[in-house]
């Protein structure tokens, strides 16, 4: 990388960060204010779970958690702490929020990347096949398949997969990330995780797979009529070569854009899939924290995931520019 290129990248990043900052701040405000409207606080839940508690005990807990302070003081604290990357303390789990999130993050990232890998690979393959054999039998079969997978509710598909593959056929485990009963290491451990990830990852992937296949097909058909393809064809390139090298490369761009836009929704999908398959990730943590009214934790997860989505989007933009030199950083 030359010096001027580095400067370009730096300017790009600086500009993006300045665009992103108000969004992140807005999300922080939104999260905090929405949750302020919620009835019931963490002390209600703690005392309720305990089975019995005295008012003195509960008042002491509230002071302890800072819940007795005025809302704006709580907000000021929250924003200040957020700036310093301190997402607060989960009183219910008795752990710092960031620690909890970091504990669960790898499982979710593993699930998300596996699912997305499968979805992108399968979506590309199906889309390319469809476009190459447009209006032929292959295209029609794929279209019907895509239509149906697009309509399947993720959580329902997960339940049905458990019935078929875990309960009836007994091929794959239905829950968790590893077999805890046995201590495994190295290769055996990886195999164990791989066995556990099959069902949740495929379940999460189906929806996106359909979206990508549709998108790739449409984008490629668009490019089949474009000038540079005609030029390639005139130069005597074969159809397969045209499909793979010219049209596909251009179809990747909209795919990247969509991927960036969908990052938030993938995390949402993870809430459902992780709950169905007991996958110990961030999505399940989010849902549990909502049910338990663990404010700090919930705020932390929402903020964290929003920031993550924003950062990943910047990466997507950068990759975008690499794929299409016409776009400036």
């Amino acid at each position: 990388m030359t010096g001027s290129q580095a400067a370009v990248v730096f300017r790009f990043l600086r500009r993006r960060v300045w665009q992103v900052a108000p969004v992140v701040f807005g999300i922080a405000m939104l999260n905090f204010l929405i949750l302020q409207l919620a009835p019931g606080d963490v002390v209600d839940v703690l005392a309720g779970e305990a089975g019995a508690a005295t008012p003195e005990y509960m008042a002491r807990l509230r002071v302890h958690f800072g819940l007795d302070k005025p809302v704006w003081v709580q907000l000021a604290y929250y924003l200040k702490n957020t700036l310093m990357l301190d997402l607060g303390f989960s009183f219910r789990q008795n752990m710092p929020v960031l620690t909890l999130i970091m504990e669960r993050l790898p499982a979710t990232l593993l699930l998300m990347t596996t699912a997305m890998g499968v979805a992108v690979a399968a979506g590309l393959a199906l889309g390319v096949l469809s476009a190459r054999f447009v209006h032929r039998a292959v295209d029609r079969v794929i279209s019907v398949f895509v239509l149906i997978t697009y309509a399947l509710p993720t959580f329902w598909l997960g339940l049905m997969a458990i019935v078929l593959f875990s309960a009836r056929l007994g091929w794959l485990p239905s829950s968790g990330m590893t077999d805890i009963g046995v201590k495994l290491d190295g290769f055996a451990y990886l195999r164990d995780v791989a066995r556990h990830i099959v069902l949740p990852a495929l379940t999460l992937a189906t929806f996106y797979l359909a979206v990508y296949a549709k998108l790739v097909r449409a984008a490629m058909l668009e490019y089949f009529g474009a000038d540079f393809i005609r030029t390639a064809r005139a130069k005597g390139a074969t159809e397969t070569r045209i499909t793979l090298f010219h049209a596909l490369r251009n179809a990747l761009l909209p795919l990247m854009t969509l991927l960036g836009l969908q990052l938030g929704s993938i995390l949402s999908g993870a809430v459902l899939v992780e709950s169905v398959f007991s996958w110990p990730g961030l999505g399940r943590l989010a849902f549990e924290s909502i049910l338990a009214r663990d404010f700090n934790l919930l705020l932390g997860i929402l903020l964290f995931s929003s920031v993550m989505v924003t950062l990943l989007n910047i990466c997507v933009d950068a990759v975008y520019a690499l794929l299409d030199p016409r776009i400036e950083l």
């Binding site: 019931g40 209600d44 309720g48 019995a52 789990q93 752990m95 239905s174 805890i180």
Partner: protein, 537 residues
């Protein structure tokens, strides 16, 4: 449902198993020839939030912490105390002094000696200050003496006949003084990695996944525990729990972790055993409670009418699939000493219900409707939401339209106990072995306290009853106390501020390879020191 269709349904429903309490499968978990070694995989319903039962009595916490930390005693199948950290105890005839001999040579998992100072510290700093019901259970303790390191004497301001029912690892867990003294007990890091005196040592807690415990080689009972360790697994999806037990991923599913609809397939199957006495100590009752501040529920006849409109036997079959008993009053049948079923009962009688409502002045309009009520319960417990749905259907038969409100648990607690914003609510509550601690709190006028969960939120207040309950609390004469508690039950069954519905059973479904030396009435909180896994055949 008209009477006839109802009979038909009841007959059809008869398929649901009955009399489970007598199932011989009970005995299967009790074994004779222990085997050393192996890891036991246990499944509990919900992941706990901490592992310190002395500050939080949520069942799931106790189900794990009981393996690591001990109490003074445990309870046998008939709820009689069995020595644990206390070897002997004595109560003076006036009931004002209780002394305990403590076990010698017991070591904490970090090697320090266990002494009476640990008990004193936990009593004064934790049970009396932070334990949800320890404040009531140990409230009368004014002074503690330690004549020698292995003896502790409690002096009471008034007799507390119930105290001895709460000294197991669930009711009064003993914490290591050297790790807690001078710290903020609620936020002590050892709450999440406890150091105890129990048969298993805490090893790791992978949040969202499992807790691993390993054998304590220096356990105070020679040769125990038999197991090398325990892995407690959290599986949030009920269907997945069933699959896990079937596939052998877990060996034991404690505390009704499996949905009742799935238990049938494990019955009469030689590979599995079902234990239904583990929860006797908790003595849980599912109930429907009325906010008696609100019209028309302020009228006793309306409450009685509602009681007559709900077929508890059908509820037991439809919602609990027969895993339980019909409740007859506030004191559950497992508390045999004080159980009084010969109080006023409310059999299904729609005509009588209609008559009572007419008398109260709530006549049916042309379409058969009388009035509308809101019913509140918390989301999360399937049995509670299903009971709410059942009640809604039942009351429609007598012209009462019910609107269900099923918010998340926190909102439920707020609406029910802080705002008192509901007409009827249903839930379930542990009544524990003694009515003074477990039952008095839901009827006592002094316990009408805004913002405190599981208090008397119905608003029911009866000075005569208050006097009887207060007398029973300090009554040293057992026979007299029994009579007082019977009278108490008669009064509330007549006034029905709370309609007791069902005593659900806590069932533990396990592989038949899982055995224990002795069964326990507080089996949910068993230490598993005497548990083992028979080799695979």
């Amino acid at each position: 449902m008209e009477a006839r269709t109802f009979l038909k349904t009841a007959a059809i429903l008869g398929f649901a198993l009955c009399a489970l309490g007598l199932n011989p499968a009970n005995a299967q978990t009790q074994g004779e020839n222990p085997v050393r070694g192996g890891f036991l995989n246990v499944n509990i319903q919900t992941e706990p939030v901490t592992l310190n039962s002395a500050i939080n009595t949520t069942m799931y916490i106790g189900e794990v912490s009981s393996k690591i930390l001990d109490g003074l005693v445990s309870f046998d199948a008939d709820l009689n105390p069995v020595p644990a950290l206390a070897t002997r105890w004595e109560v003076t005839p006036d009931g004002r002094t209780i002394s305990f001999e403590l076990r010698k040579g017991v070591k904490w998992h970090d090697g320090r000696d266990f002494t009476a100072a640990d008990v004193e510290f936990t009593l004064k700093e934790v049970w009396q200050k932070l334990h949800p019901f320890g404040r009531s259970a140990f409230g009368n303790v004014t002074k503690v003496d330690i004549p020698d390191p292995h003896k502790i004497v409690l002096h009471l301001s008034a007799p507390a006949p119930y105290l001895l029912n709460y000294i197991n690892t669930y009711g009064a867990q003993i914490l290591p003084r050297h790790l807690y003294e001078g710290t903020d007990v609620v936020n002590n890091p050892y709450n999440a990695k406890p150091v105890g005196t129990g048969p298993f040592v805490f090893k790791e807690w992978v949040k969202g996944s499992h807790i691993r415990l390993e054998r304590n080689p220096d356990y105070w009972q020679e040769g125990l525990p038999y197991l090398d360790g325990i892995v407690i697994r959290f599986i949030p999806d009920p269907a997945a729990r069933v699959v896990a037990l079937q596939s052998g991923e877990v060996d034991v599913a404690v505390g009704s972790a499996l949905p009742p609809t799935s238990v049938g397939q494990f019955e009469n199957n030689p590979n599995y055993a079902i234990n239904v006495i583990d929860g006797n100590y908790l003595a849980t009752i599912a109930y429907l409670q009325f906010n008696v501040r609100n019209k028309p529920l302020s009228d006793k006849r309306v409450r009685q009418a509602i009681a007559h409109a709900i077929d508890k036997a059908a509820l037991l079959k439809v919602v609990y699939l027969g895993y339980g008993k019909v409740a007859t009053g506030p004191v559950p049948s497992s508390v045999t000493k004080y159980y009084a079923p010969d109080t006023r009962q409310y059999p299904l009688d729609l005509e009588r219900a209609a008559r009572l409502l007419d008398e109260a002045g709530y006549k049916a309009d042309a379409s058969g409707k009388r009035f509308k009520l809101r019913q509140l319960t918390g989301a999360g417990q399937v049995q509670n939401t299903r009971t709410a749905e059942f009640v809604k259907q039942a009351l429609a038969k007598i012209g009462i339209e019910v609107e269900l409100q099923i918010p998340d648990y926190a909102t439920f607690l707020r609406d029910a106990f802080t705002e008192w914003d509901y007409d009827m609510m249903n839930s379930s509550m542990h009544r524990m072995p003694d009515p003074t601690l477990g039952v008095q709190r839901i009827f006592w006028t002094q316990n009408i306290r805004k913002g405190v969960p599981w208090t008397n939120n119905s608003g029911y207040s009866n000075p005569k009853l208050d006097a009887i309950m207060e007398q029973a609390a300090r009554e040293p004469d057992e026979a007299k106390r029994k009579e007082e508690i019977r009278e108490w039950q008669q009064i509330v069954q007549e006034d029905v501020p709370i309609l007791e519905l069902v005593e659900p059973l806590w069932y533990t479904v396990s592989s038949a390879r899982f055995k224990k030396r002795a069964l326990q009435g507080d089996g949910l909180f068993s230490s598993y020191a005497d548990a083992w896994l028979e080799p695979k055949k």
